[in-house]
């Protein structure tokens, strides 16, 4: 079974980890545009009151490189990034998970942010 543990003070959010802690930009984008907005908003509203606490916690770790994080910290970081992606429909008053008149997600090809495989550039 996939390990879903988070740093102990964020244990209450482990229920979101299997679906909402995703390590790459493309994965998080695809999660948003393939999930009904009602489900997205359950995650967004549950986590939102704790986002500052989560970011403050991550900010105390002396690195800006997600690949240096321990697995529970990394899952928390990925979940925070997912919140940033998932908050968009609710914040912008969309009734669905994506804008209607936009380039189809499946026709957008993500590739490595940098041409050279630097882990720090791949991670978030």
């Amino acid at each position: 079974m996939k390990n879903t543990s988070l740093p102990s003070e964020f244990k209450a959010f482990e229920k979101w980890v299997p679906e909402w802690s995703i390590p790459h930009e493309a994965g998080r984008f695809n999660k948003r545009v393939s999930t009904p907005v009602e489900q997205i908003n359950l995650f967004v509203e549950d986590v939102y009151p704790h986002m500052e606490k989560i970011i403050d916690f991550l900010n105390q770790i002396p690195t800006s490189d997600p690949d240096q994080l321990k697995p529970p910290e990394r899952r928390l970081f990925d979940m925070a990034l997912m919140w940033m992606e998932a908050s968009i429909p609710a914040d912008l008053d969309w009734e669905i998970n994506d804008i209607e008149d936009a380039w189809e997600p499946k026709r957008l090809e993500f590739f490595n942010p940098s041409y050279f495989p630097e882990p720090t550039n791949r991670a978030d």
Partner: protein, 399 residues
Amino acid sequence: MTAQVDSLIRGVVDDLPSRINVGVQITPEHYALEKESIWRRAWMSIGHTQDVPNKGSYFVYDIPTFNYSLIVVRGQDDQVRVFHNICRHRGNKLVREPVGTRAGFTCNFHGWSFNTQGDLRLITDVNEFEKLDKKQLSMIPVHTEIWNSLIFINLAKEPHCTLKEWLGEMYGQYDNYFENQEKVASFKAIVNTNWHLAVNAFTEGYHTLYLHKSTARDYQGGKSNPQRHRPHMDFFDRHHRYSAPGNPDKVFVRGEKLAAKYGKLMIPAFDFNFEGLPPGINAAKHDKWAFDVVEFFPNIVMLIGNYWHNEITYWPIDAGRTLITNQAWAYKTKNLGERISRSYFRSRVRDVFREDLNTLEAQQTALSSGMMDEVILSRQEMALRHHFKVSRQMMEGQL
């Protein structure tokens, strides 16, 4: 009375027609002429020196316009060079791994080997060949010049001008800007549209009030500039740029507030700070400056902000298809909070970009159907008028 802002326009615009017969310019016949008169002759950026950080770092760059595969490599002498990705023996593709770091390149067909400076170092079973001069069989170089970390190439046999001449007045105006950012996102799409339409979609601000009403509703303009007129536009011989007006009354949503607390503001939220930027950026020093849009004719449109910039690259595949790549760059982060903040703006811009892409195939279909003779361009779309003038002048050999 409605508030109105008049755009300050610098450069020659009297001769720019407001009606353009775009239908003619997107035909296969026209494109066939453009390939040689524009794309063969222009200086075009294909990446940054940061993409090849170490001696031996390389990446492969494909240019569908000419069916070229190129290798960009930093040699052992620290110089960045560009070569055709071709083995000089039988024309096999020399490198197939898209990125990496190597001491040299060895063809997998018959083992011929080149160093990172492009010199042929080894011909296997050399005595079976007749009179070979290795010096004549180096990797085929591409004319290359570096400008502020951008790697420009020219695909002509001999470039008709230097990169400095090509960039004109902009040449000295962007020092120490690009070097301080890192790449944070890359995505691409093959769009069934002509390259002119693809470039034009990103070089006017008129559309933002309407097309982006759901994704970036109040990021520009505001009460003092409700029509979002560009405060300033510059038109040069080949290129142009304009500044976009930020909205001082923008209402921040939750994600923006969080991102603002933990990192620097990036598009679509602005702090109007332009202190310390080089003179080409916010060139008219507009006090509510959001970002600049710069067209480096013909293949790059950049959105240039204070802590970020986006590079949209265009390569025609044929008259009706264009490869469009968007690469986002941003300030280097000191902590994870900044990374989370940065990622938020990256997500927001992606949706805006997808809206821009989505107009292109419809326009292509309509304008190639012959049902409409001309497109009509406002003063706020002056950059499109200029784009077509530059295209024409290049085709006539004037530029």
